[in-house]
C-alpha cells in the first residue's frame, strides 16, 4: 500500500522515499491504536522496500515528535484488571511494539527520524530505531521512565547503548532529565541540527542524496554497521514487566494521570 491515511498516522511514497507521519492528538502518545497502525505500516514497508531507498518518520503535531507511551491508556487498562495481574497484557504490548521497532531498525532502507519538540520515552525510542536523527533546535529528548518507577520499555536502553557511550546513557536515564538538540548533537545522538520547523525539509534533502546510491550497497553497509541487540532487548522486556507490578508504578502512574497541574506529576 503506497499511501495510507489513518487515525494516528499516515504514510505515502514519494519518488522512492516513504514518509511516515504521526498525527495523533495531543503529541502522538503510543497506545493500542497507534500500535495497530504501526504494525500496518511495517507490513506495507515490507512490500514497498524493494522500490524505495529512504524512510522518513516525522510528526505533524505542533507539540513534538512523540511524547511516548499513552500512560492514561496504560494506567486505565492495568487498573481494570489490577496491576498485579497486568503483566501478560503489558508483555504482549511490549512484544508487539518491539517487533515494530526491530523491523524499522533492521529496514534495508536508510531511515531518518525528523524530529521537533517533545521526543520523550517511546517517542525517543522510535527515533532511536532510525539510522539518522535530524532535530530542530527546539527538540527535547528524555527518558522520564525512572521518574515513574519504570525503565524505558520500547528498546531505548539497548539502542542508546549501541549508539552512544554508556556514560551518556547513564546521564540521561539515571537523572531522568531532558536534553536539548544541541546537547544531543554534541554527544553524537543527532546527526543534523535544523532551524525551527525545518527538520523534515533537511531529511528530504538527504533522501534525495541517498537516492543516488546503489540500494543494495547501502543496505549491506547498514547490516554491517548496525546490529540489532536482540539479547538486551529481550532482557529489557523482562525487567520492565518485573518492575511494572511494583506498587510504586501504580502510585506514580495514578498521580500522573490524575494530575491537572500545569506541571504534571513527575518526581
Amino acid at each position: 500500500m503506497e499511501n495510507y491515511s489513518g487515525e494516528t498516522l499516515s504514510w505515502e511514497m514519494i519518488d522512492g522515499c516513504i514518509e511516515l507521519a504521526l498525527h495523533r492528538e495531543p503529541c502522538n502518545e503510543i497506545g493500542l491504536k497507534t500500535l495497530e497502525e504501526l504494525e500496518g505500516f511495517v507490513a506495507a514497508h515490507n512490500e514497498l522496500k524493494e522500490e524505495s531507498h529512504t524512510l522518513i518518520i516525522h510528526s505533524r503535531m505542533k507539540a513534538g515528535f512523540c511524547a511516548g507511551a499513552d500512560l492514561r491508556e496504560l494506567y486505565l487498562g492495568a487498573s481494570q484488571i489490577g496491576f498485579s495481574n497486568a503483566e501478560p497484557q503489558v508483555r504482549d504490548f511490549l512484544n508487539r511494539i518491539h517487533a515494530v521497532m526491530n523491523a524499522i531498525d533492521s529496514s534495508p532502507l536508510t531511515t531518518i527520524a525528523a524530529v521537533h519538540g517533545v521526543t520523550f520515552g517511546g517517542g525517543f525510542e522510535l527515533a532511536l530505531t532510525c539510522d539518522l536523527i535530524f532535530a530542530d533546535k527546539m527538540t527535547r529528548f528524555c527518558f522520564p521512565e525512572l521518574r515513574l518507577g519504570l525503565i524505558p520499555g520500547f528498546g531505548g536502553i539497548p539502542r542508546l547503548n549501541r549508539d552512544l557511550g554508556n556514560a551518556v546513557v547513564r546521564d540521561i536515564l539515571l537523572t531522568g532529565r531532558s536534553i536539548n538538540a544541541t546537547k544531543a548533537q554534541n554527544v553524537g545522538l543527532v546527526s543534523q541540527l535544523a532551524a525551527e520547523n525545518e527538520s523534515l525539509k533537511l531529511a528530504r534533502f538527504t533522501a534525495a542524496q541517498v537516492k543516488k546510491f546503489d540500494r543494495k550497497t547501502s543496505a549491506a553497509a547498514k547490516r554491517f554497521l548496525k546490529p540489532i541487540p536482540y539479547g538486551e532487548l529481550n532482557k529489557e522486556i523482562d525487567i520492565f514487566c518485573h518492575l511494572f507490578t511494583e506498587p510504586a508504578v501504580e502510585a506514580g502512574l495514578r498521580k500522573f494521570v490524575e494530575s491537572t497541574d500545569a506541571q504534571p506529576y513527575l518526581p
Partner: protein, 80 residues
C-alpha cells in the same frame, strides 16, 4: 558578567516575544504559568529557548517547582 537583573530582563523579553505577551505586563516575581498562560509542554519550550539563548543546560529537576522569572534567572546564573 550578567547580573540577576540582566538575566531576568533577558528572560522577560524572550518570554514576551515568544508567547506574545506585553513586556510591560510581566514582572520578575510573577508566576509565569499564569502570566504567559502556558501549559507544561509550553514550559518545556520556554526551557529550551532559555537554554539556547543563554547557552546553558538546565536539568528539568532544577527548574521543577520554579514558577517565577526571578528564581529562573538565579538557576541560570548558577550555570553561566
Amino acid at each position: 558578567m550578567r547580573t540577576i537583573d540582566d538575566i531576568t530582563g533577558e528572560i522577560l523579553t524572550l518570554a514576551s516575544t515568544h508567547f506574545k505577551v506585553d513586556r510591560e505586563n510581566l514582572s520578575p516575581q510573577e508566576d509565569f504559568f499564569k502570566s504567559l498562560g502556558i501549559d507544561s509542554l509550553q514550559a518545556l519550550e520556554l526551557l529550551t529557548r532559555l537554554e539556547n539563548h543563554f547557552n546553558v543546560e538546565l536539568p528539568d529537576y532544577e527548574v521543577q517547582g520554579v514558577s517565577d522569572f526571578q528564581t529562573l534567572a538565579e538557576r541560570i546564573q548558577s550555570r553561566l
